[in-house]
Structure formats: structure tokens, C-alpha cells
Amino acid sequence: MDFSVLRNLISRYCAGEEYWVDSRTVYIGHKEPPPAAEAYIPQRYPDNRIVSSKYTLWNFIPKNLFEQFRRIANFYFLLIFLVQLIIDTPTSPVTSGLPLFFVITVTAIKQGYEDWLRHKADCSINECPVDMVQQGTVVRTQSSKLRVGDVVMVREDETFPCDLLLLSSSHDDGTCYVTTTSLDGESSHKTYYAVPDTMDFKTEQKVDSLHATIECEQPQPDLYKFVGRINIYKEREDPIARSLGAENLLLRGATLKNTEHIYAVAIYTGMDTKMALNYQSKSQKRSAVEKSMNAFLIVYLCILISKAVINTVLKYAWQWSVDRDEPWYNHRTEIDRERHVVIRAFTDFLAFMVLFNYIIPVSMYVTVEMQKFLGSYFIAWDKDMYDEELGVGAQVNTSDLNEELGQVEYVFTDKTGTLTENNMEFIECCVDGHVYIPHAICNGQILSAASSIDMIDSSPGGYRREHEDLFFRALCLCHTVQVKEEETVDSIKRGIHLGKPTSFYISSSPDEVALVEGMKRLGYTYLRLKDSHMEILNKDDEIERFELLHVLNFDSVRRRMSVIVKSSSGEYLLFCKGADTSIFPRVVSGKVEQVRARVEQNAVEGLRTLCVAYRSLSPVEYEETCHQLDDAKLALQDREQRLAQAYDLIERDFTLLGATAVEDRLQEKAADTIESLQKAGMKVWVLTGDKMETAAATCYASKLFRRSTQILELTKKRTEEQSLHDVLFDLSRTVLRQRTLSGLSVECQDYGLIIDGATLSAVLKPSPESSGSGNYREIFLEISRNCSAVLCCRMAPLQKAQIVKLIKASKEHPITLAIGDGANDVSMILEAHVGIGIMGKEGRQAARNSDYAIPKFKHLKKMLLVHGHLYYVRIAELVQYFFYKNVCFIFPQFLYQFFCGFSQQPLYDTAYLTLYNISFTSLPILLYSLIEKHISIETLKRDPTLYRDVAKNSLLRWPVFLYWTCLGLFNACIFFFGAYFLFDNTTFTSNGQLMTTNTQMMFGNWTFGTLVFTVLVFTVTLKLALDTHHWTWINHFVIWGSLLFYVIFSLLWGGIIWPFLNYQRMYYVFMQMLSSGPAWLGIILLITISLLPDVVKKVLCRTLWPTATERAQSNRPCLTVELSTIFVLTQSDNRLSF
């Protein structure tokens, strides 16, 4: 799937083109403002159409051909074909034209079909119905017709068609609930607010009468940021201006929940929506192998060109005398003679190019593509990666990257839903060191509330009793959970489970839901918020009512939240819950030590812990508090800051009540998987939108951070205390000191880094002084490189992608893998070298945009360690072998030019030239690259360190490539000169006994070529046989079969006078050769010599410098199959005898 058009559009609109101003003014309902107010500037915006297709009917053929020939290989073959058509070349144009035509056509059909699917998908999106308010009535129209300024009505469970500004909702307070599951992966309901001044426009007619303009910023991808202002014009009044924030903006892709309907105005449409901006274009990903392949190709292209140049130059040097150029027996034609010498030289150059062009065969591309396409089936077929519960197995969306799975150095993983099940569960609470565990848990379903408390230490004392009551009340009151009365299908099901028609809780934080539900199991049920009174059903089935006075909302800096309530007895209470680090310093009494110990223990177990504290306020204190809060809330400037100050003043002098522990259960085997990945030399980074504490807890639970890991924090909290600059230098000093020290000490400290989104953007922000920003980036990279694990929390989707990009661009250019399950992971999945989607709860979007999709995180282990490793080894051999066999193939032809007057005489017959790569040597390597298993799957799984053996593209590095090429050159020389000495100056003859006439018959140049070719085919095939470690019956069949095919083909090709050919040069050549004893002896000899050095090299390397893989190979238990017994016997025999 391709996003390039989308990207173009986006860049065209966003690349700061001049007609774009910094803000846009939206006229609600396209009504002009009163003339007095301001000038009406009509602006043009894109319509709400989504375009992801690439071609139209008209431009398909030219554009597709252009795209295809932009691939350097296709272009090269086109050139060769054209040259063959134009000039007189040694080989016929059909030999290269036919394969090229085939490849191009098949690709075009495939791409055309894919684009047709995209067109269909686009159409269904763009035609989906939308309710628009026009002249006071609701009109149904198509989504694509929507324009900026249109007022839209959205009903419950409908998806917003574009980015909308909420005007009014069916709720009286102007709120609505929304889930943004498909946008950022958060499945909880979020509350959005309408501006109070538009809240009352609740019907079509009223909305239509609204006269207002909205000024807002130009579209930007940050989902959580929006700045704007609404001007409402009323008759004979000054316009009212209200500021707008992200809480007013409904994003395309989100779904309306729990709200009957809303009215909203379109702000950003089509490609301007935040969702579209957050979709990065899916550029063609290319694997490291492909890159090395292209580098090798360039080398070979250079070799090819230099060969052609050398030969051309030598040809003209050699032909200097006329008697060499045109001896009496071999004149040129008149036309040829009249040509200018420069043209002749150029034609000769091209002819040499054509003669040697087989060194870069079309078939390599076809074979690589086939290998990837067919090979990817093994991933889909793998039953180990099949999930019974979901009923799905692994999916392959792009087969181009199979081998990249074996090269991963960095793994970026999402947390919620990827590492964890995304299923919060209340585990325990602890009041003054006494632990309470609700035991009635059954598959995550809560049993009847009647099931009571399990007290570990049940010695009721008055003091404790009091704290216990306060603790449970605190948890029942201190939250922002809403109660949803059940109407929808979902909840009815749930109600039945509970045994009574009931309500369920919704909140922006799943932890709060888990806590409140946990309380319910412990006997304290939060009923509802009614008229500012919170109602609680306590253990004794009595309803208690508390008046909710103030909510001091949670924020990530304070990391706590508080409520101030007034109990029925008139007491003012402040309940606070928050992270241990933010509560403990503010506690003045309570059993701090016991609670702290418990909290730490829980944190280590990976539970998400919260501490609960309270403070009772006297009426005077309350008044003061109220005053402080109201002051801060009404402040026009620095409101945030003043609120924070006020909170800081209020939340102090706590009495500690206890702590809670909630578990986001880790996915099955997540820790084991992460451990294996780290052992395999991969660095695992967790990128999450979640808050730091939670994320850190998960990291501990999944063994990403160990107890010994020293955590380095690079968070907003810290940068507020110190400047970013100092923090960065501090950290890098710590890390670097460790590194210098670790040179001495055996036990080296391992570090874990935690960074949050805000700090990250500060680090990455290009600061005015350009040198500085680059510096921060470098320092950050330096720090993170030295950390064994990194946790990035509070990440926006695009920030995740930024991190991936940053690592990708760092100086080692490591191969990255991103894995996630939600829509918020899509951009990172698209950015990383390999993107893996988890088919999880949060939709299938990640799976759809990924390169590979797996049902569970644990499957990543097999995917990388087994499939990735095997694919890499296979394709590396495929690439090297292809170059090798073509060197062997073409180099003798090059040498032959020295003996035929540089006349471009091909050494081999045309049929051999064409079929060498297509059929004689293609199948064995294709099969090898599909089913080779140099080491067993079990061993690969058991020993993750084997992965390091293939890391950093080790099988395709230049020395290896050089070795293969030299081996090819050596073999080519053996073939050619071996045959040369057999022919040279001697009677290389058939002994004739087999023939009817008892004669000595001479062999010509075609026999010479056939001899070389026979040795060549046998050698390269046997070389592959030597490299094969896994001989199934298919291998035997294909390897011996292809050799047999060669012999049969040659017999047939030489056995008949082919009527359609205008030459019969191969007639009986092969048979004559086979009937000669010396030819057989020669063939056997040359094959032996050619294979000898490689065997010796392999044996020596294995014995003297064995790699881990080779050790594992020789260690494996020899109980495979009967076939191997003989082998094993000989082996053990030798051991015994020596």
C-alpha cells in the first residue's frame, strides 16, 4: 500500500507555501461576520476527500512503466534489450527481451490490482454518509462533500468524519464522551466540552442561527494540541471571544460514545485532519540485504563496464595491423568498412556489454522476489505462531523484509496491549501495612459484592478501624470515574454476569476503574454522582453521601490527584492519591515505613502502585483553600502555574492511609521474550503514551529493568529543576564514567533510561543556535546507546516515529523493529525498518499497516530468532551464490576473448546462455533459499546468542563478498584454462570406439564451450550441494534433477536438426564430447579442482575458528534420520582411528 500521493498532498499543503497563513478563520455555517467585525477572507481548504490510490485509469500505463523502469535493474535490462535490437550483437534480442517483458507485465498486473483495491477503499470512505445541518434542517450527504465551516450532526457510535469543533451536545452540560481507540490506542472514554456560550444551541434550527467565527492554528499533527478562539456575534453586542483548546476538538477517527448526538463544526478536513497528518506515508521499505545487493550490483556493473572497456581497447590495439583486422580469409562487409572508427569502437563496446551482461541476470531479481514471496508462507504456516484464542496466525503483509527480521538491533515496543494484556486488575491494598486481597476473582469477572474481605491480620483496633474506613472511602471518592447506566448491548451482557442489572464505570484512566471495582469487591460500592453528591454503598449496605466540593485533577507533573469532600456529618476531608514519590514527602503521620516497604515490594513485582492519604480540614482551612483555588482558576495569566502553586499549598500535611496495587497483566511469556531478545543482542525500547510510573512498573515486570539496573531519568520533572543542558551532561557523565570504569571491573553496571515526551521534544527541537541542537541529539544518543534498556513515556504517536527515526539515522544505522497494537503505533511501525503489528484489542489498524502481524508479543521470539535468522542466512547465500555463479559463467567468456581476437565470439551456445540462469542453475538455489536450515529450529530457539552470528549483515559484508567473487574467478580460470590445455596443441579427440567408424575426430569451438559449460554447471550445482546442510528429499530431487535435466536437454538440443534455427552448430556436439574418454576425465578433474579450495577453507575455518553457529551444529545430537547413520558412522570411525 502506498502513501506517496498522500505524502505529496500533505507536503504540498504543509510545506510552508506562501498562500498559507499561520491561522485559519472558519465561518460557522459559511456565514459572513458582521461587516464591522473584520474583513471576510474566503480561504480555500481541501475537501474532505481521502486519496490513497496511486494511479488513475488514464495515467496507469505510462506512470506504471515509468515507475518500473525507475528501478535500476529494469532500466538496465531495457537498455541491454534496446542495444541488442539496434546493433549487431553476439546474442539475439529475444534472450533478454522475453524475460524482461514477462517480469514487467506481471508486476504491472499486480500493482494495477492493488491500486484498484485502494480505489475501492477510498470510495467507500469518501461516500460514507454524513448528517449536515443546512438551513435549519439535517441533510444527509457524502463524507467527501464536507467542507470547512459546515455544521455536522453526529450520533452515538458514529465516527467523526473530520476534525470537528464541538458546539453543543445532547447533554445539558455540553459534554460528550468519545473514544479515541483508533487514534491513540486509548480505549477509555474521554470527555470533551463545548464552549459554554454555544452549549445551548441544541437543535438544528438553533445551531443554524449561530453566528460565529473560529480562528485557529493551521493543521498540525499533534493530537493533544489545539489552540483557537471562537468569536460569537450576537445582535447589538460586542462579539464574545472564548479560547478553545484540545478539549473542544473532536478528531476524525474517534467515535462518539454515551452521548445521543452532538453538533459540531468542521475545522480541518480531508488531508488536513490530525489523523491524516499522523499517517506517515508508507514509503517502500528496503532491507539491508537489498541494499548490499545493490552495492554488489554496482561493483559488478563496474566490473562489467571495465571488462567491456578493456576488451574494446585491446581489440583495437590488437587489430592495429590490417592483416589482423582483416586477414584475407575474413573480410568485413562494405557497409561495415565504411563506418567511422569511433562508431565501430562504440558498437564494439556495446557488443561486449551485451556479451557479458549475463553477469547481472534478470533471473536474480525474479529469484529473490520468488524466494521472498514463497518464503513468507512459512511464517503464515507456522503453527507455533497461531493463537487458538484469537483464531489467527501470523500474517505477512510485505514479503520484502523477511531477512530483515534476522538483522534487528533495536526493538521498539509499545506497552499497553503489546507487552501487557491491557486488562487492569485490582490486586491488593494495604492499610497501615495490613494487606487486603479480594479473593473472589474469576476470569477477571467480579463476583457478587457480598464476598468479603480477606484480612491477613484481623485484630480490630479503633485506630485501625478508622483508617480502614477512611481508606476505602478515599478510594471510592478520589477519582473521576463516571457511572454509566446500562443501556447498550455490551453492558446488558455485563449486567447479566453480575447477577443484577447494574451500571459500569467509565473513566479516562483504566486504573481508576480497576480501583473502584476493587473497592466494590471489598464491599464499598461507588454508586453515582448526583447533584454534586457522591453516593457510596458501604459494607453494611448503607448509603453514605459526600458532597464533592473540589477536584484537584491529576497531572503528570504532580502525579497525584485530590478531592475535597464534605461528609454528611459536615466534616471537610481532602483525599489524595498518587505516586509514592509524590505522596511520601507530604505525609506527616501514618505508618510510612510499613506502607513504603509494601509499595516497593509491589513495584518490583511490576504492579502499579498508588498511595492514598488524607487530611481533614477545618471550616476555616477549607475557606482558605477555596479561596486559593478560585483565585488560581480565575487568573488570566499563568493560570497553569498558579493552579500548581495552589495545589502545592493545599496538598500537604497528609496522614498516610495506605497503598493500592493494580496489575496490568503482562502478556504470556513477555518477560521471557524480552530476555531472549536482549540475549540475542537487541536493545529493547519501550515507547508508550502511558505515564511514567505505570510504564516503569511494566518494564520491571517484563524484566526489561532489573533490580540492579540503575535508572537514569530524563523527564520534565527533572528538567524543570535543572536545565536540559545540565541534565543531559550529568547523565552522559554518569554513563561515560561507568564505561571507563567497566573496563576494569568485571561486573558492569547496567543502566536504564527513562525519558518522557516533553523532554524528548526539547532534545530534538532544533534550537536557534544550530550547533546546540545537534549536540543534544548526539548526547542523547550517546546516553541511550549505553543503556541496556530505554523507556520512553508520554509519547505522542508521531513522537514514537521520531524516536525510531532518530535511532535509524544515528551513525551506525542500526536496523530497527517496531511492534505495537494500536493506531497510535502505526507511524512508528511505518517508520521502522520492520514494523510488526499485534492483532490485539485496539483494532486491527496496527496489524494492517504493519509488515508482519502476529497474535501475541511472545511470537516475536520465534519470528526473529528462528524465521529471521533462517531467512537471512538463506537470502545471504542466495545473493552471494548468484553473483558467484555468474562470475563462473561469464569470466571464461571474457578470457576467451583473448583467444579469438576480441571478436565478441560467445563461448557458449545461445541456448546455454539463455537457460543457464533460467533453468540449469535456478531451481537448486531457489529451493535452498526456501528450505535450508543450517541449524535446527530448536537450537535457534534455545540459544538466542546465535542471532549475534548473523548480526550486522555479517554474511554480506565486503570480505565475504570478495571471497565469493574470488572463488568465482578462480573457478572460471580453472574451467577455461583447464579446457584450454586439454585442447591446446594436442589431439583432444574422442577415442571413437563407441562410434561406428574408428576414427579420430576433431573438436571445434562449440565443443570447447560445451566442455567448459558442462564443468561449470556441475561445479556450481555441487558447490551449492556442499553448502546445503539440510538435505530433504526435495533437495536431492532438485539438485540431482537439475543436473540430469541439463544432460537431457543437451542431448536433445544436440540430437536433432532443429528446423526453425538457421544454425546447427550444436548438432551432436554434446554426444561427441561424452563419447570421448579424456573429456570425462577432464570434466571430473576440473570439477574436483574447482571445489577443492572451498572445501579446504570450510574445514579449516570450522576447525580453527569455529563460530557459535558452527559449534552448535557439531554439538547437535545425531539422531536425525536413518540416512545420516552412515555418515555418523564414518565420522565416529575417524574419531576412533585417529
Binding site: 477517527g253 484464542e389 484489542k841 581476437g901 536450515k933 589431439t987 544454425y1063 554439538n1115
Partner: protein, 364 residues
């Protein structure tokens, strides 16, 4: 992809445990699909390769010795008659060459054989520096014309240019190869110890591939009268006689003349030899060519001086493995010894390091 993302949300909400819309059936548990086919898994270690090396050594060395001895037993005699040297009897002929001369130039080269040639003797002519493998030359022939096709006879292929037509008349056989056919005549005389010259009978049939003579090359149109069959064509420019006058024997005339067929099989390298005649052994009592003096009489027609070529005559006996070729024997002996040597080296390495590796493996 953007567009499909909208559908994705639907899946997100319908949390059907069955897997939503994608019905992905459980993969088959077959050995092939799970990559668990039974397999033989050889590893090339010193231990396994050692015996192979020794075996190769033991097989190759005897073969090599056999080949070498056989090759050495073959008797071969070579004489250069190019005539570049002033002292050479053919000097005059080589200097005064012209295509148009009507009177053939002859020269006689005396030589003596130190040892008798016992079995059948093969007589070759050899040319040096003659590029029969030049691309322009190799393709300059018309196989269908040579196969007796009458249309090709009158319309020779374009490939034959510039030897396709001579003054509008099609050339038969066309092309550079045919045009430059070797046309020296070589005769061999034995000088009896008492001084009489005895001409040695030379067999000119049976020197070409049987399939070439009987299938690939055919005279045009089943007409036994070759003169009329080649009506309307002209002889190649450099030829003295038309193709239908190459021999008097009808079985060896026209395109199926064996000298012609042998020439038409282009040599692989610029220095080559081609079979000219066979001297058949008369009986078991006398050697084919006894020890003594001989004279080679050459009708010198073929110019090689312009391209610095050489012309030779070779007399050779053969063996089961063909002609004299020490290369193969030497190569076999060398490879065999190298294998043996490597075997010994590997044995030492295996002994020294093999055990070390095994101990190193144990903690693994």
C-alpha cells in the same frame, strides 16, 4: 493504509473471540509447512572430509600415472613447412604466392622417423595464428545451404556476407569459412633403404564426424549429378575448383566432401590441427610407418605469410585416451598428491585442534 483504517475501528469494537473479520484458519501441521521434513544433515568437518581426501588421492594418482604413461607411449612427429626460412624447401613457394597463379607450386620436405609407428597413424595439418574462432568468421556460413536446402543454395544467408555472392551469382558454399578452406595437397613418400620412393596410401574417408557427413551436410536436391545440382551458383572466390569437383568419388564430393566438413568445424583456438588423412595399418607384421627416411610433398596453395601464420604436418598414433596429451596425466597426478597432502595436513589439524574444540564445547 489510510482508507482501510476506518474499517479497522469496526473490528476494534466487535471483540468477537473468533477473530473478527479475518478468518485465518489454523495452519496445517504438516512436516513441510512446519519446516520439519526429515533430512540428512551433513557437516563438513575435518573428520568427515579426511577420508574423502585420501580416497581422491588414492584414485587420482594411479589414473594420472596411467594417463601419463599412455600419453608418453604415443608417437608423434611434427614438421613445419611454412617456408619462412631461407633454407626451407618451401621458401620459394611461400614467397611467390598469388591467388591467380595457374601452375601449382610444389616443394618436398625430407624427414626421417627414428622409431617405427606401429598402429594406425593419423596425419594432421596444423595452422597457427589462424583465427577460425573469430566471431565474424564463425557465423559466416549457411547451415541450411550446407544441409542441401535449394532455396538457401540460391539465396545464401545474410550471415555469409561479404562471401555470399560473386557478381550476382550465389556462392556455394557461401561464407568466409568455406571460402578459406585449406587447399594444400600433402603426399607422403617412404624412401626405401635402397632409394626407391614408395607412396604411402592415405585414407581420405572416415575423417569427419559420421553425423556431420550423413545428416548435417547434404548435397542439394537428391540429384546424383552434382554439376546440375549446383547450376546457377558460383565457386567461392578463393577456390580453384567448384565444390562439385572436390573429389571424383561421388560419396565424397560436393558438400559431403570430408576435407570440407572437417574444415567447416571451426577450431576453438587460433592454433589448431585438423585431421587430414589416416594411414591404415596393413597387417600385424610390419609397422604402419617403419623407421627410415620419408619425403613430404606439398602442393603449396595456402598463404599464411600475410598473417604470420605457420603450417605444419603432424603424424601421430593414438591410444585409448586419444592423442598425445601429457597435461591430463600430470594434472591428475598433481591433484591427487595435493589431496593426499591436504589429507595429511587436515589429519594433523584435526588431531591438534579437534580435541580442543570438543572440550570447549562442553560448557556450551
Amino acid at each position: 493504509m489510510m482508507a482501510s483504517s476506518y474499517n479497522a475501528k469496526e473490528d476494534g469494537h466487535v471483540t468477537v473471540p473468533g477473530g473478527g473479520t479475518i478468518q485465518n484458519k489454523k495452519p496445517d501441521n504438516t512436516a513441510f509447512k512446519q519446516q520439519r521434513l526429515p533430512a540428512w544433515q551433513p557437516i563438513l568437518t575435518a573428520g568427515t572430509v579426511l577420508p574423502a581426501f585420501f580416497v581422491i588421492g588414492l584414485i587420482f594418482i594411479p589414473i594420472g600415472i596411467g594417463l601419463y604413461v599412455t600419453s608418453n607411449n604415443i608417437k608423434e612427429f611434427e614438421i613445419d613447412y611454412t617456408g619462412t626460412d631461407m633454407s626451407s624447401p618451401c621458401f620459394n613457394c611461400s614467397q611467390s604466392f598469388s591467388w591467380n597463379s595457374t601452375r601449382p607450386c610444389t616443394c618436398a620436405l625430407p624427414f626421417s622417423l627414428e622409431q617405427p609407428f606401429e598402429s594406425n597413424v593419423f596425419m594432421y595439418y596444423g595452422l597457427s595464428n589462424f583465427y577460425q574462432n573469430h566471431r565474424r568468421y564463425v557465423k559466416s556460413r549457411d547451415d541450411s545451404q550446407l544441409n542441401g536446402d535449394t532455396t538457401s543454395l540460391m539465396n545464401p544467408s545474410k550471415e555469409c556476407e561479404p562471401y555470399a555472392r560473386n557478381e550476382k551469382m550465389p556462392i556455394a558454399p557461401c561464407g568466409a569459412i568455406a571460402n578459406s578452406m585449406f587447399n594444400d595437397t600433402l603426399d607422403l613418400y617412404y624412401i626405401d633403404p635402397n632409394g626407391t620412393r614408395i607412396q604411402i596410401p592415405l585414407m581420405k574417408k572416415g575423417i569427419a564426424w559420421w553425423t556431420d557427413k550423413h545428416v548435417k551436410f547434404r548435397n542439394p536436391g537428391g540429384n546424383p549429378n552434382l554439376t546440375s545440382a549446383f547450376q546457377g551458383t558460383t565457386k567461392p572466390i578463393n577456390w580453384r575448383k567448384p565444390v562439385y569437383e572436390l573429389d571424383t568419388d561421388a560419396e565424397n564430393n560436393g558438400f559431403i566432401n570430408e576435407d570440407f566438413i572437417v574444415w567447416m568445424r571451426t577450431a576453438a583456438l587460433p592454433t589448431f590441427r585438423k585431421l587430414y588423412r589416416i594411414i591404415q595399418k596393413k597387417n600385424n607384421m610390419t609397422p604402419t610407418l617403419p623407421r627410415g627416411n620419408y619425403t613430404l610433398e606439398v602442393t603449396y596453395n595456402y598463404p599464411v605469410r600475410s598473417f604470420e601464420g605457420r603450417k605444419r604436418v603432424i603424424l601421430s598414433t593414438i591410444s585409448w585416451m586419444g592423442g598425445k596429451n601429457p597435461f591430463l596425466g600430470i594434472a591428475y597426478i598433481t591433484v591427487g598428491s595435493v589431496c593426499f597432502f591436504l589429507g595429511v595436513v587436515l589429519l594433523i589439524i584435526h588431531h591438534k585442534y579437534g580435541s580442543r574444540n570438543n572440550t570447549a564445547d562442553i560448557p556450551n
